[in-house]
């Protein structure tokens, strides 16, 4: 290892690798928007970033964004328009992928950002869906980003805000959902991918410095592994340079 990186920086770079050149991506704030910036500066110079408030950009915004509606995200944008116009692109194969996070994700990639506990008497009322269900339903593929803790990667979410593979198998297709579903869950310890006809998420790759036992022990379901569990490749110098160029203040370095 010739260069230092934080766990968060590794997650950003793993996320950036999910973006192919020329793709149109629904980019959230924080970690995914940084990943988008890294991808644009490295292997995906022609990617397009979409923001559900009604913004599409080629070049990432200059400077730190607190919300997708901030001025720097609109200055010089490819398009500032309405939510229907932007989110409507999800249909018709015009959007390749979306990034979303959540409070909970389950073994079939279903995501909860709505209620912990009972709907009518919730233990925690989470902020809600935003546009995540729409992106989860329609994008060609979904990238889920979440911290790897037992209460976050759970057997079954209390509330499916954004559908993954629902009860697994072909349940998603039967429900009439056009997009293919979540392709990957990127955590701070590992990368999980859907396996076989059940579409249950299995361990696909472990981040450097972590072990299978630790990952399984921090997962809320009986996590199985792909036949060959890889080690997540370390960030390259080019990737780290791009990230440092974007994250000038070192927000993600700790």
């Amino acid at each position: 290892m010739t260069h230092e990186y934080s766990t968060q920086e590794l997650m950003i770079i793993a996320a950036a690798r999910q973006i192919a050149d020329g793709e149109r991506i629904f980019v959230g704030m924080r970690l995914p928007i940084t990943a988008y910036g890294v991808a644009r500066l490295t292997h995906a110079p022609n990617a397009v970033g979409l923001f559900e408030s009604g913004v599409a950009r080629y070049e990432p915004a200059d400077g730190m964004l607190y919300t997708m509606c901030d001025g720097p995200n609109q200055l010089g944008a490819a398009w500032t328009t309405g939510l229907i116009q932007i989110m409507g692109l999800l249909s018709g194969g015009r959007v390749h992928a979306g990034f979303i996070g959540g409070a909970e994700v389950d073994r079939f990639g279903n995501i909860n950002t709505s209620y912990i506990g009972d709907i009518d008497d919730p233990k925690v009322k989470l902020p809600g869906s935003g546009g995540a269900p729409d992106i989860a339903a329609m994008a060609e593929r979904l990238v889920i980003i979440i911290n790897h803790q037992k209460h976050r990667l759970v057997e079954k979410v209390d509330f499916i805000t954004s559908p993954g593979y629902l009860d697994g198998g072909d349940a998603r297709k039967k429900a009439g959902l056009p997009g293919a579903g979540p392709a990957v869950i990127i955590t701070d310890r590992a990368i999980l991918k859907p396996h076989g006809p059940s579409n249950e998420f299995h361990l696909a790759s472990i981040h450097p410095g972590h072990t299978v036992e630790e990952v399984v022990g921090n997962t809320g379901w009986d996590l199985k592994s792909f036949p060959e569990v890889e080690q997540t490749p370390e960030p390259t110098k080019e990737e780290m340079d791009a990230l440092h160029h974007i994250d000038k203040e070192g927000f993600w370095r700790s």
Binding site: F51, Y66, T67, V124, L126, S129, A137, I160
Partner: protein, 300 residues
């Protein structure tokens, strides 16, 4: 018309209100404050996302119903008042009508353009189909495939912030607009909060930049920085500290009350609010000028 007068004229207790439909910019916080000051009750707040506006109104006891996709503090974390109301019924219980951003967009679109409902696919498989009893699962009669029917939403009143308007409410908006157009046209009454009042010729010089025509507007109020602490493209930067402080200072009900007295109830109007912000607001004012290329409307 003053904002106070517009609200006392057009907003009654029990109204269904859209207060900002552009998501995180151009949120009409000045109207949020005035609704709290006038003590409106049993409001149904409808919006995809209105940053901390909905949380404030819930904390002040104005709200019994929330219709939308997201309530919280976009840069600051969860909305304490929203959580307290939903989890503990404080200051009183609220009913939450969950939508996703696109489905509430379709509900506004249907309401705006006279369609009874819209069949969508983007909410299939989500438990929002179970929690929101207004949305029905049905079969697409053409293909036999499942489809979710989202009925039209027709709010009573919509508030929107625009960069500039003339006295008749003809106005210009630029930057991303979220669901502003659909939500406003769907509403029975439209109240425009104009950051700047300009001569009619300025608006008429570019009719393609008009989002809602003046003849559809019921009141136009001149309220500079009505969006604070949210940003307004080309006019005001976002006050990120304010959102952060709100999160810290509203953790429990007594704290929220203190915050709300200081920033809303103890101030007579938005002019006093701007004066209280003073230099903090001036620092947010956009002084630069990066103008759009002109469009030519000449006919000869």
């Amino acid at each position: 018309m003053s904002l106070s007068e517009a609200i006392s004229t057009f907003v009654q207790d029990g109204c269904n209100i859209v207060l900002g439909a552009a998501l995180e910019n151009a949120v009409p916080f000045a109207a949020t404050h005035e609704l709290i000051r006038q003590g409106r009750r049993e409001l149904n707040m409808i919006a995809p996302i209105s940053d901390i506006s909905t949380d404030m109104l819930i904390g002040a006891g104005c709200v019994t119903e929330v219709t939308g996709a997201w309530v919280g503090n976009v840069s600051g974390g969860m909305g304490h008042n929203f959580r307290r109301a939903a989890e503990k019924g404080l200051p009183h219980p609220i009913k939450v009508n969950d939508y996703s951003n696109f489905t509430i967009g379709m509900a506004f679109f249907a309401g705006a353009y006279g369609l009874p409902y819209i069949p969508v696919k983007t909410i299939l498989g989500s438990d929002i189909m179970k929690s929101n009893k207004n949305i029905r699962l049905a079969e697409d009669p053409f293909s036999g495939e499942p489809v979710a029917l989202v009925p039209a939403l027709k709010p009573d009143v919509a508030f929107l912030v625009v960069q500039r308007a003339d006295k008749a409410g003809n106005s210009h908006i630029w930057g991303s607009t979220g669901l502003t157009q659909e939500a406003s046209i769907a509403a029975n009454k439209i109240i425009v909060l104009a950051d700047e009042i300009v001569e009619p010729e300025v608006i008429a010089s570019d009719p393609s930049r008009v989002l809602i025509p003046g003849f559809g507007v019921d009141a136009v109020c001149h309220v500079p920085a009505a969006c604070h602490p949210a940003p307004l493209i080309g006019k005001w930067k976002r006050d990120n500290h304010f959102f952060h402080d709100y999160h810290k200072e509203t953790r429990d009900p007594a704290d929220f009350d203190r915050w709300c007295d200081e920033w809303v109830r103890d101030l007579p109007d938005h002019e006093a609010y701007r004066a209280k912000l003073g230099g903090q607001l001036e620092d947010l004012r956009i002084l630069g000028d990066i103008p759009s290329a002109p469009a030519n409307y000449a006919t000869e």
